[in-house]
């Protein structure tokens, strides 16, 4: 009989894993279990459903016939426990499923830090489909929402409500927005842009408690400064944590997440974990133990699929990159730009803050090797920076070839000359920016 691989979780990690197992092995039986939704959808797009840019069905990357065609069995049930001795798992309806290999890809949950009133109606995070439904239900026709937590999901939730004409107060514990990721300068530009969108931003402010009304619904919050802010919705977006509570009584080793080795395998040889719920015992090079972004889930899924189909492959995500959008400002980052320079690092920034455009490059002071770039309002080619990071080119090389990296739509104003002029003045260099070369660009992807 062919091998049965059961995957708990139909998010991007679980689904990517399932698809790639099928791609590499046409015989094994694949079951994907989820209690969230029947079909895979893109979690990152939930905000657009709320804002009316898309319908929920648009967030589903594959048509519904796809799963049967690829013989991926979908089970819409909740797993309550896993018996690793007998290789089976139990659903909440009492039924069981036997597996040969098990993949845990159960994602994460919004952090709740034990605030008073956090279980009231009209309080919620934004991670799952149910979170969206909850938010949809309790923000109908309301006047004001409060969002707690100054990160990406926080600003998304603020944008969501503003799009429906709901006033938003945004509590940020730090002195500036996304402080542990963004250098102050860039954060300031984003914060100015928030004001343009009439967001009521409160820095250095924390949530003290959520005050409910007689019906058990949130009606106001109290901040740590004692201010009471009336609101009908409280969004808790202070990060997410691996969704592993259901494993507590199993033999699977968990800490913050499911502990895995470099092959995404747990302490039990035929049990694996990927995506937002996985915690690497040893962090991959230059990475954190838990990385909860879209592409890492995808990447872990693909890597594990190889391991499960006969070619054990360690997870190796390569150079850090990411992207986001803050209202109208697009952000991309390649390599590592920390909020504060490390010893031996130097940086260069150029901005046209009036147009919400900015780049920030970090490099090694001595060797001038390029370390990373943050760009706002300018799109850059991933392939270019990936290659430059691989080849450990200097910042001067990057400046000289900056036009090759530009990925803005046609006819957009080009800023490379201006950027390099300023760089030359500040660095005492005399770099002439080269014309865009298709040959070099094609070499990036060769």
């Amino acid at each position: 009989m062919s091998k049965h691989i059961a995957i708990i979780g139909n998010g991007v990690a679980g689904i990517t894993c399932a698809r790639h197992i099928r791609k590499r092995d046409s015989d094994c039986k694949i079951t994907v279990i989820s209690a969230e939704t029947e079909y895979f959808f893109s979690r990152t797009a939930l905000m657009y459903v709320y804002m009316g840019h898309m319908k929920f069905e648009h967030t589903q990357p594959y048509e519904n016939w796809f799963w049967e065609k690829n013989r991926i069995d979908l089970v819409f049930k909740y797993v309550v426990s896993i018996d690793t001795d007998n290789n089976d798992l139990k659903y909440d309806d009492g039924s069981q499923l036997a597996y040969d290999e098990l993949v845990i890809a159960t994602g994460a949950k919004s952090n709740m830090f034990g605030w008073k009133g956090q279980d009231l109606k009209g309080v919620g995070g934004l991670y799952s489909f149910q979170d969206l439904q909850n938010m949809e239900k309790y923000t109908q026709g309301i006047k004001r929402g409060v969002v707690v937590g100054g990160g990406l999901i926080g600003i998304e939730m603020a944008e969501m409500m503003l799009s429906r004409g709901i006033d938003v107060t945004f509590l940020v514990r730090e002195r500036h927005f996304w402080e542990h990721i963004l250098p102050e300068n860039e954060s300031n530009m984003i914060m100015a842009h928030m004001k343009e969108h009439h967001l009521d931003l409160r820095l250095s402010t924390e949530l003290d408690e959520i005050i409910g009304d007689e019906n058990g619904r949130a009606k106001a919050i109290k901040t740590n400064t004692g201010e009471i802010i009336e609101c009908e919705w409280v969004g808790l977006t202070t990060g997410v944590s691996p969704n592993v509570a259901f494993l507590k009584d199993s033999n699977i080793e968990i800490e913050r997440g499911v502990l895995v080795d470099e092959n995404c395998t747990t302490n039990i040889a035929n049990v694996h974990a990927i995506g937002d719920c996985a915690e690497f015992k040893v962090a991959p090079d230059g990475r954190r133990n838990i990385e909860q972004v879209w592409y890492t889930g995808k990447l872990m899924g693909e890597t594990l699929a190889k391991t499960l189909t006969g070619s054990p492959t360690p997870y190796s995500p390569g150079h850090w990159f990411n992207s986001a959008k803050f209202f109208d400002i697009e952000y991309q980052t390649y390599g590592v730009v920390l909020p504060n320079l490390k010893e031996g690092e130097e940086d260069f920034s150029w901005d046209r803050a009036a147009d919400n455009i900015c780049i920030h490059i970090v490099f090694n002071k001595e060797t001038r090797v390029f370390k990373g770039i943050n760009t706002f309002g300018i799109r850059m080619r991933h392939d270019a920076f990936n290659q430059w990071l691989n080849e450990k080119v200097t910042v001067d090389f990057v400046m000289e070839h900056l036009k090759d990296a530009n990925f803005d739509p046609e006819f957009y104003n080009q800023h490379e000359e201006e950027i390099v002029d300023q760089f030359n003045v500040e660095q005492g260099t005399s770099i002439a920016v080269k014309k865009k070369s298709w040959q070099r660009i094609l070499n990036f992807i060769r």
């Binding site: 991007v12 698809r19 790639h20 791609k23 893109s42 990152t44 797009a45 657009y48 804002m51 009316g52 840019h53 898309m54 648009h58 967030t59 990357p61 594959y62 048509e63 065609k69 690829n70 799009s163 842009h193 343009e196 969108h197 090079d285 879209w294 592409y295 990447l299 693909e302 890597t303 997870y315 190796s316 995500p317 390569g318 150079h319 990159f321 992207s323 986001a324 959008k325 209202f327 109208d328 697009e330 991309q332 799109r379 850059m380 080619r381 991933h382 392939d383 990936n386 691989n390 990925f407 739509p409 046609e410 006819f411 957009y412 104003n413 298709w438 660009i441 094609l442 992807i445 060769r446």
Partner: protein, 577 residues
């Protein structure tokens, strides 16, 4: 600001209501003089018709009442003469008598009887309020409507906040989410196009109102096509301005919108009308075969050259024909055979479809609020390929037929060439494709099935350019490494129903025959993943774009990211193959 927008909307709706009310205003008065003029211009020889048509003399308040009565009489005369012919034939009378009787038969084609037969009489019978107040009514309908539209649209610069993507509430709005407003617009558009193509006599009063504009441009009274052209331009200008405001942060969109407005107003409207003023044939220099399916038909060649070159292949006469006419004929060939393919090679079919074309121009301006309704399913893609290439084939056969009449092909009298009798084909193409598909469905279906139904499923020129774009072009939409988060904005807003995300999430460039290069996928992408660009053919189609081990062995580290996310996914494309 919001109140200005509301006033604008109210003004527009008032103008629109008056425009439609025109149908029931004014009077149509039939006199003997007008009847004589009519029968003379139509060359009617039937004494039965001439006698019975006297019954028409009188006043009508609704144009269709007059048309119906006229057509009843014409049909009765037709029946009468056919009966006489049958009788003659059975009794064996003189052939000449029979022929004379045949000459009296009035032929009415079901789809054209209102437009070709009744409308000319109705058009000369208008009297009373409408014809006496053309200028006033023009101001209160068209000018007021345009003003209202602009007042509604211009404040968006302020009301919609900072420049950026403005798709908030698209799927929560009755107008843009197939709600009751959308269905109402759908119904109106269908009705309007049916009237325009098959019952233009209904629109007589609306046409009168444009007479002053028409006279100032081409020197003659307006026709139903002038009405259509003027409305087309008006809507495109207002909605084009709206488009430019909506995408003011995106230069590609702004320049592209200016371009479609320029080509519509200049090439499709002003230049042809001015040509008519100078007694030249109406000619749209940007309309390429086979979208302009009759470009090489005998009647259209006759129109521009003065004689039917493809019937005679008389090169002598061709050389001595009118210079402009000759230029138009040669230009038609060059446009189709040289300019179109060369431009598609360098820039993709977008140079035409979303920069120049009138249908595309309407879709990108008036149709922009509906782009999200295109069907992205695999089924729709399969359907699209069958239908659009069938239309292309249909158009090719038809044109071959017109070039190959009388055993002639390219002037060669050679029996091996199969000649095709195309009159019936041409009628059905004109009816089914020219009117129903490109007009009634093409535009009428905007609010429900999206703004590119015609361009995606029907346009033979799009099909022709699509083949070039797919196999021999420098155009592609480049995908940016592994930044895609599969959100689906690109696919949702692709008016051509391309599942852009399916490519983007695999890091695969988008090279699709149907892509019109509108650039909206790139605009709505929140992560900067998509870029329309022209570049070397080599490396354009990236089904397996990257297969590199980024780091060296001694570091003991392989950037699996590029390899895995992009490089090795080539096999998992079964869902769209």
């Amino acid at each position: 600001m919001k109140s200005i927008q509301q006033i604008g909307l109210i003004l527009f709706l008032m103008a629109f209501a008056l425009f439609n009310a025109l149908m029931f205003m004014g009077k149509f008065e039939v006199t003997q003089g007008k009847l004589d003029k009519f029968t003379e211009s139509k060359g009617i020889k039937s004494e039965v018709f001439i006698e019975q048509s006297k019954e028409l003399i009188g006043e009508y308040s609704f144009s269709l009442d007059l048309s119906e009565k006229l057509l009843t009489i014409a049909e009765a005369s037709h029946t009468h003469h056919r009966k006489v012919i049958t009788e003659f034939e059975s009794t064996g009378v003189d052939k000449e008598l029979i022929n004379a009787e045949w000459g009296k038969v009035i032929w009415l084609k079901e789809t054209k009887k209102h437009g070709n037969f009744a409308a000319p009489l109705v058009a000369i019978c208008g009297t009373g309020f409408v014809v006496e107040n053309k200028g006033l009514l023009f101001s209160l309908t068209f000018l007021l409507g345009i003003l209202g539209g602009l007042l509604h649209v211009l404040p968006r610069l302020k009301t919609e906040g900072p420049a950026g993507i403005k798709n908030d509430g698209i799927f929560q709005n009755q107008a843009t989410n197939r709600g009751w407003i959308a269905w109402l617009v759908f119904g109106y558009l269908i009705a309007f196009y049916l009237a325009l193509y098959f019952f233009p006599d209904v629109l007589t009063n609306m046409i009168y109102v444009l007479d002053p504009v028409s006279t100032s441009l081409n020197g003659g009274p307006a026709s139903q096509w002038f009405l259509y052209g003027f409305m087309y331009c008006s809507f495109m200008v207002v909605m084009g301005i709206k488009m430019m405001i909506k995408y003011r942060h995106n230069k590609y969109q702004v320049i592209r919108s200016i371009s479609v407005l320029f080509f519509q107003l200049g090439f499709a409207f002003l230049i042809p009308e001015l040509l008519v003023r100078f007694q030249k044939p109406w000619f749209d220099f940007k309309s390429a075969w086979p979208l302009n399916y009759s470009a090489f038909d005998n009647w259209s060649i006759k129109k521009i050259l003065g004689f039917d070159f493809f019937e005679t292949w008389d090169f002598n006469a061709l050389i001595h024909s009118d210079t402009l006419g000759l230029f138009m004929l040669v230009w038609g060939f060059i446009l189709t055979l040289v300019i179109v393919p060369v431009m598609v090679y360098f820039y993709g079919k977008r140079w035409y479809c979303s920069w120049v074309c009138g249908c595309g121009g309407l879709a990108e301006t008036v149709g922009d609020p509906y782009r999200q309704h295109s069907d992205k399913s695999l089924k729709a893609w399969k359907f699209e390929r069958v239908i659009i290439y069938s239309v292309l084939l249909f158009a090719i056969i038809m044109t071959y037929g017109s070039l190959s009449r009388e055993q002639f092909f390219l002037g060669l009298d050679y029996e091996a060439f199969i000649t095709i009798e195309t009159d019936d084909l041409r009628f059905w193409y004109g009816f089914a494709v020219g009117s129903i598909f490109s007009g009634v469905i093409g535009t009428g279906f905007y609010p429900i099935f999206g703004n590119r139904v015609w361009c995606r499923f029907g346009c033979p020129l799009a099909a022709y350019m699509g083949i070039i774009q797919r196999f021999k072009s420098r155009f592609r939409i480049t995908t940016n490494g592994a930044q895609c988060i599969s959100c689906g904005n690109c696919s949702t807003y692709c008016e051509q129903g391309i599942d852009v995300r399916a490519y983007a999430q695999k890091g695969e460039n988008i090279v699709r025959s149907s892509c019109v290069g509108c650039g909206i996928c790139s605009a709505v992408c929140p992560r900067g993943v998509l870029k329309l660009e022209n570049g070397p053919e080599e490396g354009r189609i990236t089904e397996n774009p990257i297969d590199i081990t980024m780091a060296t062995e001694d570091e003991g580290k392989t950037s699996e990211l590029r390899k895995i996310i992009i490089g090795e996914q080539k096999n998992l494309t079964d869902f769209n193959k």
